[in-house]
Symmetry: C2
């Protein structure tokens, strides 16, 4: 597999009350096309990742909406896989190119979340969780809180050490002008922030954001340098109680094994990664499931500064879901945009040196879907 990424674009993430979903789709699509030095005439198919437009926004025929916005009659496929929508869209776009049927594909991820009643958004987000579990009143912070408690019990992770993850993420976000929360936070601030779902506090949780990102994927383009060389996808039970473990996300392991095998790289070859840190504990578990750390020891990478800019494998240089923001459908695409920026040497102010292999890790729900994509230059 060798699919070239010829164009990237990310809008500002934040509370974008003056931009509609349509505005964000248009801005990101045209931005990625411009970056790729191409036009819609040379696009064969489009994938659009979004989670809330139907339930919350009243519009669930987004393929046709994109056709109207961009003025095309192309095959346009809407992709929805909870918070993994963006990653799944990239995987689908890769299949489309590999099929030989579509040669250049535009992938858009976009979400509007902030100008809608919060409880309505929360209800729709919980649509990605198991029905019987929701009936207990549990929320995603609650589900990840259970995972955090189990992990802390099993491996001795302390609440104080867990706070180092968002400290690192916010440091990175403070260097990213497109981030929703571009300011540093201290360990003390994390520990003093409101309790959301024990042991997770407000500053352990990713925010609710508007935003969009887009990519142009091409069957070949020798002038461009960055390629997608491995893509793995896996699923698991929608219910957390259906799984054999609370301290690992098996779908991440499976997806990464597929991606590593295809890319012909091992975890130690990865120079930087954007991982799905919807909650701070998720980043610790991801580092282990992705093979960056032995099981139970993920936090030591954070304590040693290895996942910070300047470390051996910087993680979430964009700020991650925590610092950059988490406009659901855009997140998986934004992860890829950040990795491509870094591999191109365009991540001004937060550039990783000697970056050759980058990885994105995108999770839906509490681990019901996972996608791992590996890029190189």
């Amino acid at each position: 597999m060798k699919i070239t990424i010829t164009g990237i674009y990310q809008t500002k993430f934040g509370e974008l009350w003056d931009q509609s979903l349509e505005d964000l789709i248009r801005e990101s699509a045209l931005g990625a096309l411009k970056d790729a030095h191409t036009s819609l005439k040379h696009i064969d198919a489009i994938y659009i990742a979004n989670k809330l437009s139907g339930w919350v926004g009243g519009q669930n025929h987004l393929g046709s909406v994109v056709a109207e916005i961009l003025g095309v009659n192309l095959p346009i496929i809407s992709v929805e896989a909870a918070c993994a929508s963006g990653g799944v869209a990239i995987h689908q776009a890769a299949l489309a190119i590999e099929s030989g049927r579509y040669h250049q594909v535009l992938v858009i991820g976009a979400e509007k979340m902030t100008d809608i009643d919060n409880s309505f958004v929360a209800e729709a987000l919980m649509g990605a969780a198991s029905g019987p579990e929701r009936e207990t009143g549990i929320t995603f912070p609650g589900l990840y809180g259970l995972m955090a408690r189990a992990y802390m019990h099993q491996y001795g992770l302390t609440r104080e050490d867990l706070a180092l993850v968002p400290v690192k993420s916010h440091h990175h976000a403070s260097l990213n002008p497109l981030a929703h929360f571009p300011f540093p936070v201290t360990k003390e601030q994390v520990l003093a922030s409101s309790l959301v779902a024990d042991p997770l506090r407000l500053l352990d949780c990713s925010g609710v954001s508007d935003g969009a990102a887009a990519l142009v994927l091409s069957a070949k383009n020798p002038k461009s340098q960055v390629s997608l060389i491995g893509s793995g996808m896996a699923t698991d039970t929608i219910s957390l109680m259906g799984r054999s473990t609370l301290t690992s996300i098996p779908a991440t392991k499976l997806a990464s094994q597929l991606a590593y095998q295809e890319a012909g790289v091992k975890p130690s070859d990865v120079n930087l990664a954007e991982v799905h840190d919807c909650f701070s504990i998720a980043e610790v578990i991801a580092m282990e499931d992705l093979g960056f750390s032995p099981i139970g020891e993920g936090i030591s990478l954070v304590k040693d500064g290895q996942t910070q800019l300047g470390g051996t494998c910087p993680i979430n240089t964009s700020g991650g879901l925590k610092g950059c923001g988490h406009p659901v459908g855009a997140t998986g695409i934004k992860q890829a945009v950040e990795i491509v920026k870094q591999l191109r040497g365009q991540a001004t102010g937060r550039q990783v040196k000697r970056a050759h292999v980058g990885l994105t890790h995108n999770v839906g729900g509490s681990g019901g879907t996972a996608v791992v994509n590996i890029f190189t230059k």
Copy 2:
């Protein structure tokens, strides 16, 4: 392109109050696997088409739900493209196989519509239409009513002749034990049924149904006889007012041109078709857009009995959306199941003689998405 259809299954369509969405998914998936003489161990990826599970059913992470129901960790992709969800899922599954990455793919379409408050279902269905048009209070019967009025004005179609379409569909449905409405209706009954959106009456409109259907698609299987030989997809503006015509669905034309070209067949080679007759006028327009009839003359095929069983090109032998029922996500898959049954010679009681090439035509919204698939044995 040559993708073999190795397994098919359709549940009963109807008001299935004793079966949940999960039950329907399980029944259709296992049914298609059994028909294919295979098992989940030999499936590489799954596509699930559904429209209402999120907005209406409170569950929008269906890939993970299917993983839990079937007990697998495969890549499972949820596909939503309004009423064209099933057709788009088949197109995506074809790409997956053509990519060389997945060799045998299960495609499921399932929908629960009848045990939910009707107005809530109607609201969610309207999510497939243009926002500004919905603000006028228009519904899908209204949009297709406008198309019917424009068509009748332009081509002199009479209200009486239009009634022949559902008469034909219900005749076919009366021969299909899986149909939701398996009874004949007369022209007089159509004309005397309640007015829904002038000139469309109750018996011009497809029903609200529960049901599921599934297919197994395989890269190769010399023992099986039916293959997918062409698949075309196109989109158009979500708003009807954005189009240049009310009497044609341009996305159908584009999708069918792509499918015919790929399959190497022309409209006159098609022996039978399942077309998207969400409203009686839609079937007339589809016959023209698909090239079965000159523009403006579609109804003459119906009047001559050519689209009835025994005619030159029977249309909607399943009963169509009108007679068989329209569980939205299942419809596009059910169309393919019916064509494969016919090409295999298994359509007991309604078998088309000398059937070699069959076509399915699936539309989303008022023509914002269209997919045409062509099968042969």
